[in-house]
Amino acid sequence: MANRKINWYKYSSPANFYPLAGKLIPWFAIPAAILFIAGLYVGFFVAPTDFQQGDAYRIIFIHVPAAWMGMFLYVLMAGYAGIGWAFNARLASMMATSLSITGAMFTFLSLVTGSLWGKPTWGTWWVWDARMTSTLILMFLYIGFISLQSAIDEHRRADRAGAVLALVGVVNIPIIYFSVQWWNTLHQGATIRLLGKPTMAPTMVAAMLIMLAACWMYSVAVVLIRVRCIILERERNTGWLTEPVARGEATHFTGAESI
């Protein structure tokens, strides 16, 4: 603690980030709950029935946000893993580990809900279509990252190995995103584009975007809770954890009691 000179890096230290993360969690968890309720309300009670797919399309309100989160969180995870590796920043590596679980969960959900949507509309649970196959590869990349990290006992070595895998795997993200344009796929094209009008009714788009915001808030909250657990697990023996902040008895870490 004593040789920390530059204040900008204050929160790159787990000891300082730990109480900050604790304070931030409710600011994401509560909006997440509100947005989930609002998104489901708009999705089920405001958005109209689709003229082609009937009510089956309502799976979109969780399927598309889950698929996007799977991709976003992967890029974020790889970014943190890369920073942790390049700058030897252990908190960034812990963030990558924390993100991997939530990212894998959203990717899993996008595959399962996609399958549940495919059965009534395409007549099949699964096809080896470009988008679905590349999303399955994303799932395997997450599983690979998680298993590789848990197979290596020394944390920093596990972080470095995971970073290599995560960064190489980033190449899969544009493949998923553009798969519906590059190949002739069974999966439909993008319903929302950065440029141009969405191909859905405005209330449908609204429900989807509210659900996406809810998923973001949820992800930040759980990733912060998990990174706090990881900090506790990894830094159990480093001394600062025995101090009042870590024990929930004070709100500010001063470093004055540092051993």
Partner: protein, 62 residues
Amino acid sequence: MSWSEFFSMGGYGFYVWGSYAVTLIALGGEVIFLLRRKKNLTSRPDLDRHHSSESDNYENQA
């Protein structure tokens, strides 16, 4: 629209509610698992100063 109509989702009830049920289980499960993990960690006796006297940072020794 009646509630039974609402739950049948025009015949797609299994797929629509199945999707949301899986999502609820996954998200809820993640939260419950995490809060339990957190609780186990913060109630650990070895976080107590008296019990961590032999606590050289093993990570730095590698």
